[in-house]
Amino acid sequence: MMDLIIDIALNALYVLLAVAYGLLLLGIARKINARVHNRVGPPVYQNFIDVGKLLAKKTNIRHNWIFDLAPLFGLAGALLTLLYIPMGGYRLLSGDGDLILLLYIMVIPSLGMALGSGASANPNAGVGVMRALTLMLAYEMPFLLTLLSLMIFYNTTSLSVLLCKQQGFRWAIFVLPLSALAADMALQGMMMKKPFDIPIAPHEIGSGPMVEFGGKYLGMLMLFGAAFAVVETSLFVDLFLGGGVILNPSQYGIIAYMVNYFVWMLLVLVVWVIAVFINAVFPRFRIEQAFKFYWKWPTVIAALGLAQAYVMSVILGVVP
């Protein structure tokens, strides 16, 4: 019983820290963006203030009960997704659900947001969601191929097993560099950073799906965005960079967890900053250009990565 309570408390702590870290990441992104533009930029804690302000707004509007599903499913789905992602070697619930489950859980918040924004009856929202879904079909092609190459190479679909097999710097990025490259390209679209931010283009379609959300609705969606910044970068870190596990917890105990957590934070930051720098200097693709791009180069690279994994695993019989 005591173990269970400690377990739940630890999970909650990790999720809370992840959301906070996500907000910090968003702040860092704004700061970097500003520096690239030769500006001073907001303080890094700016997004905490923004969320606080939005949640403290005096009035909020809603259109109907389906509109409420957006923040509810958005935040609940984001927290749930965080629970299934190992952070710094701590597996949370990822032992009880594998990558396929994670992939489908990751859809829940976006689906809730699509429902809510669709219910606002604003045509911009419909167009925005259409673009987001088309973009999703685009980037999922290379991303699923890279996932498959990992699953085939490591012969597992479980993230926690994947982490175990990558321990001791046997990171997948060294073994399957092509897949890692394709996954990073897909990540850019998954995070809707430029050049793939057409679904939320503020000047064309009034920030797309978010057009009608304000106050606490927008605040909760911002928390969802923060959580997903961590989810997506952390997914890449867990898949290709060994999840930041450099010390074996069974050997070093609690110190290992803390060190691993900091390494994980560092790696997440590195992946995030790469995406942010690309974001800072690019204009945006139109949606059909984005689609063509994703089904061309990243898919070819990912297919090559898959071929490599296939040859190594099935024909050469390499067991990692």
Binding site: P123, G126, M141, V161, M220
Partner: protein
Amino acid sequence: MDLQTLFGIFIVLPVLGAFLSYSLGKRASIVATAFSAVPLIFTYLRMGDWSQYTFTALGINMSFELNPLNWFFILMTSLTSFSALLFSISSVKERQNGFASLMLFAVAGANGVLLARDFLSLFVFWEIMSWSIFLLVMRASGESARIYMIFGAISAYFILFGIGIVYHYTGSFLYSAVGGVPAYAWKYLLPIFIVGFGVKMAMMPLHIWAPHAYSSEQSFVAYLSGGLSKLGAYGIFLTFYSFATVGVLAGFGTFRTVTIPGYALALVGAFTAFIGTMLAIFQDDLRKLLAYSSIAQLGYVLVGFGLGTPLAVGGALFHAFNHALFKAVLFLGSAAVIYRTGEYRISELGGIAYRMPFTFMAVLISIFALAGIPITSGFISKWMIYEAAISLKFVIVTPLMLIASVGAFLYSFRILYGVFLGQLHRRHEHIKELPPHMLAAMYILIVPMMVFAVAPGLIFDWINSILVYYGMNGLTYTTFSYQSSVGGANMLVFFVAFMAAFMVAMGLFMMKKARTVDQYDNYLGGEVRTDVELHAAHNFYKPLREVWEPLLKYSTERFYTRVARFFAGGFEEIKKVYTGNPQDYAAYAAMAFIVFFLIGWWLL
């Protein structure tokens, strides 16, 4: 249970009901619902009461059986037929015209097909079912019915041809005698049966009847897509794992532990899933969208049957079950929308959810199941098929399936946004929620989806008994969790975590109150309430369509049309053979004799 009860409940009773309800006019569906409820309840109660009966009639050995497999399929079909008939009480009231009796004939046919253990009764009941479908489709459109008839005939001929081959080698119509067919004959027999049953399942090159037939009366289509298309899956399962056993299939060679026919079937299934999904994305007709989605979803079932590991076959059976439920609900939802608005084009609808919230809820949950969101059981069956393919390290089948499931989000959102969300048109402002019995028809099907999502172990018990009955290994599972060789998931943990996360979100959400505003109080650059309809559902995936345009011009339907035109032209040529000159006829006869002689000589 004896043969009389079995026969009486599953076949005679629906036929009786059919005759009775034909004389009742408007109230026919009520009686028909009652008659279809009896087999459903009976099926559920008779779980585990397996028995087999063989008897001789007119000098032919005939056999019927209730076993875990056909029990499972009867449960599916009678669930969907019951709810379709319950729904049709109001929806086809004025246009009854034999609807309910034809439905009951189809039920009787389907039950007969499922219970039969000999080819003769299989074929007879198959034809009863097929003709009832033909007549039901004909009610809506003669053209659709003709297209269905052509494919139905192809299916029937192939099955008949297969039966002929089996009879040739064994001299018996019983399933149990199929083992006598020599291994080399399976080269012909297997494709023949797969095509024969695959037509009913709308397998990829044979799918084009489906979008036409599925555009007819929607409450019937709920049964056609949910229930009757599963007979194709049933037939393919029988062909693979009952008629041709694993030994026979392995005789064709294996590709990484999967038999070559199985691998081919999996490939066909994966392409069916992929292409069906891509076509569904671009449909503006709600019924056609669901039809293509149906084709795509049954592709997953084919993949599962093809891969042949216990996990894959179990997943395929589970997916067939899920598909029966969620596709029936979706078609009933479509029927509901058509019943209330008379409109089936997605771009002309919109905002129906604000007027029909319970219908929307049912459709939403079944769309979760369709897209594989883990809140419903639709996820688990897809998961099983994926894991099976991944653990076999298949690199063509798996990505096709995975990307098809991403495509499923696209078309399901097209339904959700185009029909149920977005702007409510002025002309639809008056519509009302469905009457309770129609909602009940939908929610009956929702309940199992939710229950099996939390506790998949309940349905794995049934699936396991099927797998064990056909000599396969069982699945690894507990009541709440399930495992493959490469991964696993625990649904109870998932649901508890989901609830906890939802509570946190709810707590944050409840801190502030929100004011409800009108749908026209929307930010449009300061404009409000004009007469322009602002529902952005017309040509929804236009950018994607533009990208796909070069590929979309290759259509199977156009190919068939061209073939048909070619043959029509060809027959014109053949007509010229009849010259009217006796000497020509004599020459033909001589030529034919020589040809037959040569063929016969080569054969012998």
